[in-house]
Symmetry: C2
Subunit: 196 residues, 2 copies
């Protein structure tokens, strides 16, 4: 655990000036005039986020299997396999958002949610934060979402997790991280139970 | 491995019209008029990417340790711990880009690069593709990069990987995925060697 203090002691660049340089219905691009602690100056751009955060859920169908959804991604104009996810609505806790997304995307609520970690993506220009949950004790309940089409729900066995990682359609870094973290959480739990 | 064919058989929405609705020095926002196979229509927005792709590298310092860097991220205006990464330059292969980024960010080249997977992020509005490599057999060589300040390089032991995952500064989903994938690759190699 060498020189961890170096990270924490790094001095943030000064933000001398910011302005919105482009804007659409959904996105705002902000320009930032920065001065780093060594005196170097740069003009960066970032997407100004909603600040609402998001959730992703690994839903346990039973002890041996979990659910996946396939969803259209406009970014690369293709369908991808991954875990249910969505933005946190105003006033919601991350747990409430996770339960709502499960009901909208796979038709189940969860009696038990375990938070595994908060993940970010593309921090050079995004401020995204996604809370990753493992969901147990599912019960059938459906909520109407805003998806243009019903998501196709897949069942996958934990013992075939390695094969899922080899699928090019399973490529979203947050789904890949979530799969590994859930697997590790379940293995740790199993170890603890075996020792009891 | 249930109903995998469902994924592949899903019919992509038709793109009826696209236009650039906002543009800055670095970003273009594209509006897409879509019709899904069930007849539902939506107007989506996405960031038009460079299409160049990117690389991330898990650099093995030796059999027991790996390197990390801490880098400023303008998105959330903070420093984050993660693996060296960067865009592929025009004309470069992913392997060449990986080697260049290593030389720029940690002052080493790699004689051996193993590609672990290609990851995407935020596919609802991004078309990002990042090739994840594990790098062995490092040799000292430095290239001048375009970073505003030298990156602080950290050494971490594989046996403390779980502690790294618990750090909130280690949050980028592609770095988290890369750590798990590298760990799994190394464990598989160890198992194979033990059987020989």
């Amino acid at each position: 655990m060498s020189d961890k203090s170096n990270l924490i002691s790094q001095q943030l660049p000064q933000i001398h000036r910011t302005s919105i340089v482009a804007q659409s219905r959904l996105f705002k691009i902000e320009e930032m005039h920065l001065e780093f602690s060594n005196g170097a100056t740069r003009v960066y751009e970032r997407l100004a986020g909603s600040g609402r955060g998001a959730v992703m859920i690994v839903p346990m169908k039973n002890a041996e299997e979990f659910f996946l959804v396939s969803e259209y991604g406009a970014g690369a104009h293709k369908y991808d396999l991954g875990f249910p996810k969505g933005l946190i609505d105003p006033g919601e806790t991350p747990e409430q958002a996770a339960n709502r997304e499960l009901k909208e995307e796979i038709g189940f609520g969860a009696k038990t949610l375990v938070e595994l970690k908060t993940l970010s993506i593309g921090s050079s220009f995004l401020s995204s934060k996604m809370h990753i949950f493992l969901a147990f004790d599912l019960y059938p309940e459906t909520l109407e979402g805003d998806e243009p089409e019903p998501l196709i729900v897949h069942t996958w066995a934990w013992q075939n997790a390695d094969e899922l990682l080899q699928q090019s359609e399973f490529s979203e870094a947050r789904s890949v991280s979530a799969l590994y973290m859930a697997q590790q959480w379940l293995a740790n739990k199993q170890n603890t139970q075996n020792k009891e």
